[in-house]
């Protein structure tokens, strides 16, 4: 890559340093490969972030205002960053790269929850999805920082600061739309109703999460239900909206067997990489 490096020294405005790949060192985490079960847990957490980043990225150039193109893009970038940490760590267990895992796993191998797979819908539905997911991840990472696994703890520590902004962004829009016009309140309520059935899946004690929670590595999903629901209820009521009554949709096991969205999301995300297997980009 000598010629690439030379390019920066030419007389142009292009004087920049080469970008750095994410390394465990940059997180201050262990560079040991992840144990098998921990890797499966990291994959589950990473898939949520990756799929939501994929969904949110669609808003860039389509948002209601220029500032929101930037804000939603920022959140998508943060989530993609979290996904990259988590997938890289997960892949260390099996000698796989983040891209192997993102681009060359099939639908049945993903572990994303259905909440993040839901359509963007209108802006209100996207905000509703953001509200649920960011409140959940905030509570999750707040506990995961104490994980016995130092890498997961370090990722959670980094992500927590960013997710704090994400939940603020979602809550501020919830207030604006809930207290804005009649139409915005109606749409915000409809957005909440649309995503609410997929909230429950976040609290399902699937494996290997439950077993890892016993060892102090993972956070037991069901332990998050009360704190997340409590904060969601309070915030939604403060916005002058109703807390949806819908029960959790059946099939809350992250298997993908009960999702029609996942296949389309992956088809689009993976298409180019799969046309050129083994290629470097």
């Amino acid at each position: 890559m000598n010629s690439a490096a030379d390019f920066t020294s030419q007389d142009s405005a292009t004087r920049i340093s080469v970008g750095e790949a994410i390394t465990p060192e940059s997180l201050g985490a262990s560079s040991d490969p992840a144990p098998e079960e921990t890797a499966r847990y990291a994959l589950l957490l990473g898939d949520d972030c990756l799929i939501l980043a994929q969904r949110l990225g669609h808003w860039i150039s389509r948002a209601p205002e220029l500032e929101e193109d930037i804000a939603l893009g920022n959140i998508a970038l943060d989530l993609l960053g979290h996904a990259r940490f988590l997938l890289t760590y997960a892949g260390s267990a099996w000698g796989k790269s983040e891209d192997d895992l993102a681009y060359f796993r099939s639908e049945e191998e993903f572990r994303s929850c259905r909440l993040v797979e839901q359509d963007n819908g209108d802006f209100a539905q996207t905000i509703a999805r953001q509200l649920l997911f960011s409140f959940y991840t905030y509570e999750l990472y707040q506990r995961l920082v104490d994980s016995a696994d130092t890498t997961l703890a370090a990722v959670a520590d980094k992500a927590l600061k960013e997710v704090d902004y994400h939940q603020d962004h979602a809550a501020q829009w919830l207030f604006r739309l809930g207290g804005g016009t009649e139409e915005s309140a109606r749409r915000m309520q409809a957005g909440l109703e649309a995503v609410w059935p997929y909230l429950e899946e976040l609290f399902a004690d699937v494996e290997p999460t439950a077993a890892l929670a016993q060892q102090g590595i993972a956070v037991l999903p069901s332990s998050l239900r009360e704190p997340v629901l409590h904060r969601l209820r309070t915030t939604i009521e403060e916005a002058g909206l109703r807390v949806p009554e819908a029960k959790g949709a059946l099939g809350a096991d992250r298997s993908g067997r009960f999702s029609e969205h996942r296949g389309f999301i992956l088809a689009e995300m993976q298409v180019l990489a799969r046309q050129h297997p083994g290629a470097t980009w």
Partner: protein, 344 residues
């Protein structure tokens, strides 16, 4: 024009007669004009509160808002690849890049607002198709290599154009350009690096890179605008220290820059006439297809309709959100006024 006599009672005469006031206004304008001329002669900056000729203001609003619109429409061709970027690193870099473009749009709209045109007014001009934006964005980003070609050639041409604009006489514009140029140089480097990776990858990847360069080269050279002889506004912009070099000078500078870069990439530029001219100390290149250029400017490019429809859909679909945000802000302002009254 009404034939009625003006109602003189409405005229403020506390500061002298109408004639005296007119004289004072003329004196102010003369002082402003002299100050402006002096700034031009000394190559200094004009700031928003300085007097400026109306035509100078109009030229700047047109140029700065067109630049802002180009950033906004320019989000679309690359945005098209965010969902399909072939690696997570590329996806992340591309997302950051398109987001930067939204940021550039913001700086530039803000700079134009200091000239007295609101962002909404500029949005409206883009929405109705009255405002122009860079024609290059009316071409499709069909393959992943287009993301590289846009970065290398389109952002490269933009930087060549914009680096001298950092010294533009209008302060807010020049300062916005400093920031824009810093980020654009990342973009150009990223584009070049995408193409470098492709041209050193599989044969299919290399072909993809060559194809994108073949399609982007001509339109990128046209980004500098028509040849000097057909660019009537350039002279005035140069006299006002907005533009520092002519279209053809900048185009030549760009060609001279990209020829060795293309060699380093291992890709060819689609012009058989391209060769070093020892005498001129520059590369010679073929005439460009200006009929095509003007046809795209007039709205007949491959994607003019699609780009505008995408923009309009985003504005239309977001209208209820903006209304809600405004209504909420108004309610908040009312309630804080009420509580201020209660506590008074």
């Amino acid at each position: 024009m009404s034939n009625e006599k003006p109602d003189l009672r409405a005229v403020d005469t506390t500061h002298g007669s109408i004639t005296e006031q007119a004289q004072a206004a003329a004196d102010d304008a003369r002082v402003g004009w002299e100050h402006f001329q002096q700034l031009m002669e000394e190559d200094k900056r004009v700031e928003p509160r300085d007097w400026m000729p109306e035509q100078y203001r109009k030229t700047l609003v047109r140029q700065v808002s067109q630049h802002a619109h180009s950033e906004i429409i320019g989000m679309q061709p690359e945005g098209n690849w965010i969902s399909r970027a072939p690696s997570l690193k590329r996806k992340s870099v591309l997302m950051a890049k398109v987001q930067d473009e939204a940021g550039h749009g913001l700086y530039l709209y803000s700079a134009a607002e200091t000239l007295g045109t609101s962002r909404d007014e500029m949005y409206q001009q883009l929405y109705t198709g009255k405002a122009k934006y860079s024609s290059i964005f009316n071409y499709p980003a069909r393959t992943w290599a287009d993301v590289g070609a846009i970065g290398w050639l389109v952002d490269g041409a933009a930087i060549t154009n914009q680096v001298p604009l950092c010294r533009a006489s209008y302060g807010p514009y020049g300062r916005a350009m400093v920031r824009v140029c810093k980020e654009e140089s990342f973009h150009q480097r990223q584009g070049w690096e995408i193409l470098y990776t492709l041209s050193h990858g599989t044969p299919a990847q290399k072909q993809m890179a060559q194809d994108a360069v073949d399609r982007t080269y001509g339109p990128a050279l046209q980004m500098f605008g028509p040849p000097d002889a057909d660019s009537p506004n350039s002279q005035q912009s140069m006299a006002w220290n907005i533009k520092r070099f002519s279209n053809d000078e900048l185009r030549q500078r760009f060609v001279d820059m990209i020829v060795p870069q293309a060699e380093a990439l291992g890709l060819t530029l689609p012009d058989p006439e391209l060769k070093w001219n020892e005498e001129r100390g520059h590369y010679d290149y073929s005439d460009l297809d200006w009929d095509e250029f003007f046809s795209v400017v007039k709205g007949n490019g491959p994607l003019n309709h699609q780009r505008l429809a995408h923009y309009r859909a985003a504005r239309d679909n977001g209208a209820w959100v903006r209304e809600a945000a405004a209504a909420y802000a108004a309610k908040q302002a009312d309630s804080s006024r009420d509580s201020a009254l209660l506590s008074a």
